[in-house]
Subunit: 231 residues, 8 copies
Amino acid sequence: MKKFEDLGFCKVDTDREQRTGYPEVIYGEGKSADHISQIMSRLIDHHEKVMVTRLSKEKALSLQETFPQVKYDETSRILLYGEPARRYPGEILVLCAGTSDLFVAEEAALTAEWMGCKVKRVYDVGVAGIDRLLAHREEITKASVLIVVAGMEGALPSVVGGMVKRPVIAVPTSVGYGAHLEGLTPLLSMLTSCASGMSVVNIDNGFGAAYQAALILQLASEGGENEKPLP
Amino acid sequence: MKKFEDLGFCKVDTDREQRTGYPEVIYGEGKSADHISQIMSRLIDHHEKVMVTRLSKEKALSLQETFPQVKYDETSRILLYGEPARRYPGEILVLCAGTSDLFVAEEAALTAEWMGCKVKRVYDVGVAGIDRLLAHREEITKASVLIVVAGMEGALPSVVGGMVKRPVIAVPTSVGYGAHLEGLTPLLSMLTSCASGMSVVNIDNGFGAAYQAALILQLASEGGENEKPLP
Amino acid sequence: MKKFEDLGFCKVDTDREQRTGYPEVIYGEGKSADHISQIMSRLIDHHEKVMVTRLSKEKALSLQETFPQVKYDETSRILLYGEPARRYPGEILVLCAGTSDLFVAEEAALTAEWMGCKVKRVYDVGVAGIDRLLAHREEITKASVLIVVAGMEGALPSVVGGMVKRPVIAVPTSVGYGAHLEGLTPLLSMLTSCASGMSVVNIDNGFGAAYQAALILQLASEGGENEKPLP
Amino acid sequence: MKKFEDLGFCKVDTDREQRTGYPEVIYGEGKSADHISQIMSRLIDHHEKVMVTRLSKEKALSLQETFPQVKYDETSRILLYGEPARRYPGEILVLCAGTSDLFVAEEAALTAEWMGCKVKRVYDVGVAGIDRLLAHREEITKASVLIVVAGMEGALPSVVGGMVKRPVIAVPTSVGYGAHLEGLTPLLSMLTSCASGMSVVNIDNGFGAAYQAALILQLASEGGENEKPLP
Amino acid sequence: MKKFEDLGFCKVDTDREQRTGYPEVIYGEGKSADHISQIMSRLIDHHEKVMVTRLSKEKALSLQETFPQVKYDETSRILLYGEPARRYPGEILVLCAGTSDLFVAEEAALTAEWMGCKVKRVYDVGVAGIDRLLAHREEITKASVLIVVAGMEGALPSVVGGMVKRPVIAVPTSVGYGAHLEGLTPLLSMLTSCASGMSVVNIDNGFGAAYQAALILQLASEGGENEKPLP
Amino acid sequence: MKKFEDLGFCKVDTDREQRTGYPEVIYGEGKSADHISQIMSRLIDHHEKVMVTRLSKEKALSLQETFPQVKYDETSRILLYGEPARRYPGEILVLCAGTSDLFVAEEAALTAEWMGCKVKRVYDVGVAGIDRLLAHREEITKASVLIVVAGMEGALPSVVGGMVKRPVIAVPTSVGYGAHLEGLTPLLSMLTSCASGMSVVNIDNGFGAAYQAALILQLASEGGENEKPLP
Amino acid sequence: MKKFEDLGFCKVDTDREQRTGYPEVIYGEGKSADHISQIMSRLIDHHEKVMVTRLSKEKALSLQETFPQVKYDETSRILLYGEPARRYPGEILVLCAGTSDLFVAEEAALTAEWMGCKVKRVYDVGVAGIDRLLAHREEITKASVLIVVAGMEGALPSVVGGMVKRPVIAVPTSVGYGAHLEGLTPLLSMLTSCASGMSVVNIDNGFGAAYQAALILQLASEGGENEKPLP
Amino acid sequence: MKKFEDLGFCKVDTDREQRTGYPEVIYGEGKSADHISQIMSRLIDHHEKVMVTRLSKEKALSLQETFPQVKYDETSRILLYGEPARRYPGEILVLCAGTSDLFVAEEAALTAEWMGCKVKRVYDVGVAGIDRLLAHREEITKASVLIVVAGMEGALPSVVGGMVKRPVIAVPTSVGYGAHLEGLTPLLSMLTSCASGMSVVNIDNGFGAAYQAALILQLASEGGENEKPLP
């Protein structure tokens, strides 16, 4: 039984949706528009939907010529073919500390929506203006899963983590300068957080955070049990 | 309305169980047996159960004199007062790569059990013997949430992450030498994993991983919705 | 004009009080009890008061035999000869995130008192329990200068910095593990804080923070002007 | 009571001047000229003055078309709308080690002036020519607060710190090469300074140093007391 | 006896083939097309074959004008003059984790072929899809020497190393972002691998890995003995 | 078909000799003498020989009581049960730079002998006395595989690598101070070596280097071909 | 007595030649051609000679229009006004490991010549071809002071340091990739060298090495004594 | 012609004095008293004098039993057999910043004396008390070579370097805490110094600095020329 199509330069995992619930996602950085186009064709054939992340505007414009139906979001640099449909209960709340962190927050928000989740956004609520954050206390405590995006010193997830009884996924961003070390500082800072129930993904990895958040809601939608093992 | 008791040297958060579902946990490192004893008394008064983590054998013996009912586990260095009871559906699978990672794996396993989860353990399945890991494929794909503990190069979570459609929480350990950098290498390595749906906690933080895993099952047990905001 | 006494192994700066308002402070780490004793004698001769920081209990006990009037504080590891007297208006607020950060917070508090400042302490108010911090909002906004001590991810100064219009001096501590990197993580994190009006001192340097805070109140007590240049 | 205006892409903190004495400052890096223009409009409406930092010449030219009254300083990359007026007693002295550190020194000087302080500049006095520095001893000892800017090995603040009884705020710069590590070396070096009464801000953060210096003079102008807590 | 030709700007080691079995290889980065051309001429005179690595397309085009017989491979950026001929028994297997690691994998593959080895390629078999890797178990266990190329977390060599009884040479790549640290993370990760029989070369150094692999097959082809010492 | 024995605390890989030619080796660090004893029993049952590495003298003495036949080498901290027998052609040359590197060099030498290789030792030939090294030129060029051990700046492998046409495996050691960074400096230094045909293992990993060297001679002894895939 | 001319943007140290034997040298990086031109004018007025280092070709061409007598060397990026004259006995030998290190080696060589030293060059003698180095043994042992330039693993100074009884100044270069860390690896490596009598300057700092070498010959030319203290 | 004696565990370089002017020095750390004793015997036989550095008091006491004539200095941890005699003109000045740096400063001073140099000491002159340093201006400018020892931020060499026209060798020490990074911070700081004519040795390497200083005076005593190459 063949589980992937071999394009020579890569092996397209066409079996993935059946196995995990989601078709393969294309990471656009470092791939040529032509290669992306070939992979998209295969994935559209199998799943009728595709998501491409980290895609430059130039490549997006070129792909729009081949696939006129795609939508491209400049902030998150995500390109979508096909419409997302809500599949799970609950709500993912995406918070971000500053306006410069938006590109990561939107990567997370669009990914979660594309995977079938309802998403709420609360942006520009960095901890140095704690009242702006506390003004959203109700939305924060109502969320099912929280994705907290922050650059600079990365303190936001610790504060949010202490306010909720739900899982928090922290995303450090590369936004900052000097001692910020291109995101390494908030990354390490989030990992040593004094808040419980929080985990961390790579710098700028909004996609990864949203992916895990969606898996959590998927699990919740199935009642937490996992009767049948995967094939 | 008073939310904590002030012991002078610290503020005991006695309101926590009502707010988040769990009483405060005592981090034993750097606290004297006497201080721990005082905090335990307060928490027992309020909740009738207590967990202390990172507790040396010496302090544990001293605390057992005051609280004869407590149980102490030398591997995980956890001390428990009161019995855990299963509260959630599903199952948390704790995997670890080598026998030296056991102290972290057991911290995770005991924490998850204490929080009300069913836990299964699969130990000593490092990736350099891939067949030992694959022999557990069924248990792996059946788990609701997976905690994957690994020292050395920290490769196990990537392999496991690719085998499941459930959330994976990776825990790097301080077990290794030289280029291992006391755990920094597997930490960074896990953060750059090519597997989707995976997040990471601090080095040796088995407690933190289990805490988040339990929150996920708690959410699942409530169907993913969060109707009533926290007070 | 001779400005210091030469003890062979060091040069005691006996002119310092006249020049800066404060006699020399002895850094106890790495000096033998005998050397400290000799320096203390000279400083007592000139100023009738002495402060020794980072002093082990063993050395303190030995010095108490020579100087029965000294007081030793085990938490901050500070030894004092002579009584501090309040000299300046205003109030320094020392906050700390966790009970394990106390040794640094007390080094700051005792130093500031010894230099003539009124000090208020608010301890165990880490950001993961934001309500515990906010319960002290009035004391926080009333303070003249704030010293904020935090280990782990070091997020407390950012939150406090956003609540006040007064100078905030942040002190990272070596309390934490793993990605905490013995204090480097909160140090870098505080340096990239999104709060304005905040500066940072070395890891565990409660003394340095208090010293600067006292200089600020000294300046304030003189109306901010500096009519006569130092000799 | 509404404390900020929501522009969608950000929340403008229009209440800030009343709360802290200063309107919000716009950090220009990473914001489009159009976004800056919108925020400026709101801030001008409320405060009749605005400061934008880290602004490229290109964006400055574009903003000058919309706001012909603004002034742009190419060295510090600061754009100002409205005139600063001296509000506090005393004097801030800005020193810098080399001519290449000027862009940071001027960011500090212009910020302090804009916040109402009198500023004196002493530039190109690196420690390798100690006599050039000592030629300014009188100005140095007369200053109320000192901002000391240095790249390379960052030694200047230590020398200056030992000459004064006033607070010193050290600013490392990104000027250097090789072992300089883009400013990390002088940053760490300043943090381990043997001078007392000194604190440090992020690499190139002239703005942050000046902001704290101004808060110190503001406090001094109010006599160090803080009778009425902030609302 | 003269062992190299001095071109002024460098010393061409024309004696190398006789001494080690291989002529000198030209590292193209940082050398002008003109310099490369001069060195090529000398090497062609002596050996009738040349390999240039890390050569930009621009320089390659310019060299093709002087040496019309050369072949240039854009993926590996290798330029060859002369045909490789198989000289040794056995087979080198080059594996790579992702399609973005191809440029390194091909540098290794082409180098090994040029040195006289038979090479087999198995690409895009990262550990997060373990079944894709296991589908090649037979080829993997049949290989004489294995070169395993991986970016991201660099886990592939550990898994492969545990499957074979042959030497494994691991090559980390600079493909990744954030905590990947431009390849430092997989480099350190591979060095702390739990698999035995594995060694590591510098980031992106496909050439170095292939060179050692070829030396191993050369040794094997001579039966492991080394009767006659080099001159 | 069962491939390992489960001792509860670990899985003993008793099938390993058949699969790879060598029984499992016990890494002694972090294992109790009792655990090691149990694993040894199983391995002796299956293979009649055992090697334990990184074993403290205390544990060795305790194990000698249970297994009187074992031999313990204090320099390498290796314990052996059973006699090694030469199985392969050729010769492994172990070189080390300083006398303090001996513990690593001997770990390599004893491991290689135990695996069936003939080993020659050339010690204390650091590059700062190049003539001492060159005095061994004949032995160096005659070796089949070279293991080069060096602490400090780790320069020896580069010089040796340039003298031979055989594979060189470099082993950095933790011997040094200050900028040596506990072995990180020679590790990185060896990885950027200008010599071709060289690869590197972890700091102090004499075992790993010898293991790969033995695999190379094993391959050579089989003529480089690998006709029958592993089961 | 005025010791420098103040140009506003910098203070030209016109007294320097009298004080130290050498006029000020202009570091060209980060200074505009116009600023350099102004400083040159002053220095020419006082000393009739000038050296500018790290000067781009563009700025050099522009300066040549103002000062037609200047000479510019593209390799070292040094611009000279006035002729150097030999002033000291002895000879400085500049060695470099690879052809890519030439730009640093030439910065050292030209600086030393400009300061009045006789310079000999031995280039492309990296340790991986030890015989090429040893072929220069006579020149090496005859040198008065040795400047040894190396990128990659930076091993050359250790070998040279062991061959001579004269001071060796090591210069790491930024030439390399991956684990080379932009020169940090050879820098640290040289600092932990096992050779005695060697010291190190910053990455690529050929100027600094030559400056110290010239001071050594200057001292030697005065017989090592320093009768008259500087004014 | 035999150039060293082989003791089995090491090769004693008995030819060294003839070749370089100095017998081999024994680095005591990591060698047993017995091994040191054997090497000392050989060196005494050949040279009638020996120096051992980094020797613990325990080993020193043990060696004093075998060699009653030796002298041991506890501060520098140096053991000497035989008397040093002045051989060169000029004077080496050893400066140190703080009293805690004494152990390094004395290692330098005793080494230089043992090698035949006149040494002057100026201690406890850190830059934070610039007047204490300037009080020694005459001694500083009169010195032939300067060794400047400093921990903390390592600023002293930059100031001293700017005061003299003689070579300065900077020695960072491991004295400090937190951001000091066990000496890495002053090491990097000294390497990026703005003073010309300065080079740097490893952390705490007083021996290395003195060794180079002595070579400089040796060269000066020979007039800078090096007529006869070494054998």
